[in-house]
Amino acid sequence: MRTYTLVWLSLVILTGVAVSTAGMDWGRWSLGITLFIAFVKSGLILNYFMHLKDEKQIKWIRWLIPGILAILVLFMGLTFLDIAFR
C-alpha cells in the first residue's frame, strides 16, 4: 500500500514538472522533455499499478508493450519518410 501511494505521489510530481516546464521556453527540447515524462509516468503505471513487473506465470507478457511501441514507432518513421521527402 505504501508503494502505491509513493508511485501516485511521483506521478503527481511528474505532472507538476511537465506543466511547469511547459511554461518555460525550452525550444526544441520541450517536446522531448514532455514525451520523456509521459513515458516515465506510463512505465510507473504499467509496472506498479498494472503489475507488469510481477507477471510470473507468462513471462513474455512484459514484452508485449515494448513490442507494440516498436511497431508504432516503425509506422511513424515510415510515415515521416513519406511526408518529409515529398
Binding site: M1, Y4, T5, V7, W8, L11, V12, T15, A18, V19, A22, M24, D25, W26, S30, L31, T34, L35, I37, A38, K41, S42, I45, L46, Y48, F49, M50, E55, Q57, I58, I61, L64, I65, I68, I71, L72, F75, M76, T79, F80, I83, A84
Partner: protein
C-alpha cells in the same frame, strides 16, 4: 496450480485487447504527429487557447483514480471487501468527476463557437481546424472509454456486493482494473500533446 495458469491466460487475453486499444489510439497519434509537423506554429497557438488548469486537474483526477483502483484490488486480495468496495466506488466517482470537468471544458469551447464543423471555426486557418478536429476526436474517444470504464467498474461493484467476486476470485476486478489503468495511460499522453505544446 491449474487455476493460476488459467488466470494468467485470462490476463493475457486482457493484455491483447489492451494492445488493440493502443493501436487504435496509436493510429490517431500518428495522424496527430503528421499534422503537427506540418502546422507546428499554428498548433502551438491553438494549444495555448485550451484550458490548461482544467486539463491539469483532470490529469490529477485520473491519476488518483488509478491509485484507488489499485488499492481496491489490493484490499480485496487482503480479504477486506468493504474497503475494496469503498475504493472501487471512489474510482467510479473520480471517473464521473473527470467527465464533468470535460463537459464544462467542452461547453465553454462550444460557447465560443469552437466545435466540429462550426461556421466560426471553419473560417480560421486550416491548421487550427485540424487541431480542433484532432482535439475533439481524440479526447472524445478517450472520454467514451472513461464512460465505458465507469459502466464496467459499477457492474463489477454490484457483483462484489452480491458476493460473486471475492478474495478467491479477484480476476474480474483485476482485468477491469487493467482497462482503467490503460485509459489513464492514454490520458497521460493526450494531456501533454494537446495542452502543453510549446
Amino acid at each position: 496450480m491449474g487455476n493460476h495458469k488459467n488466470e494468467a491466460y485470462s490476463r493475457l487475453g486482457m493484455w491483447l485487447f489492451l494492445l488493440s486499444e493502443i493501436l487504435l489510439f496509436g493510429g490517431l497519434f500518428i495522424l496527430y504527429s503528421v499534422y503537427r509537423f506540418q502546422n507546428a506554429q499554428i498548433f502551438h497557438l491553438a494549444a495555448e487557447a485550451l484550458n490548461r488548469p482544467i486539463g491539469t486537474i483532470n490529469t490529477i483526477v485520473l491519476l488518483t483514480s488509478s491509485l484507488t483502483m489499485a488499492l481496491s484490488i489490493y484490499f480485496l486480495k487482503m480479504e477486506k471487501p468493504r474497503r475494496s468496495l469503498f475504493f472501487l466506488f471512489s474510482t467510479v466517482a473520480l471517473g464521473v468527476l473527470f467527465l464533468i470537468n470535460k463537459s464544462v471544458e467542452w461547453s465553454i469551447k462550444f460557447h465560443h463557437g469552437v466545435y466540429p464543423n462550426a461556421p466560426r471555426l471553419l473560417e480560421r486557418e486550416r491548421g487550427e481546424i485540424l487541431f480542433y478536429g484532432l482535439y475533439y476526436s481524440m479526447t472524445g474517444l478517450h472520454a467514451l472509454h472513461v464512460l465505458v470504464g465507469i459502466g464496467i467498474l459499477s457492474g463489477v461493484g454490484l457483483w462484489m456486493m452480491r458476493g460473486r467476486i471475492h478474495h478467491k476470485h479477484v480476476l474480474p476486478l483485476e482485468n477491469s482494473g487493467l482497462y482503467w489503468h490503460l485509459v489513464d495511460i492514454i490520458w497521460v499522453f493526450l494531456f501533454p500533446l494537446f495542452y502543453l505544446i510549446t
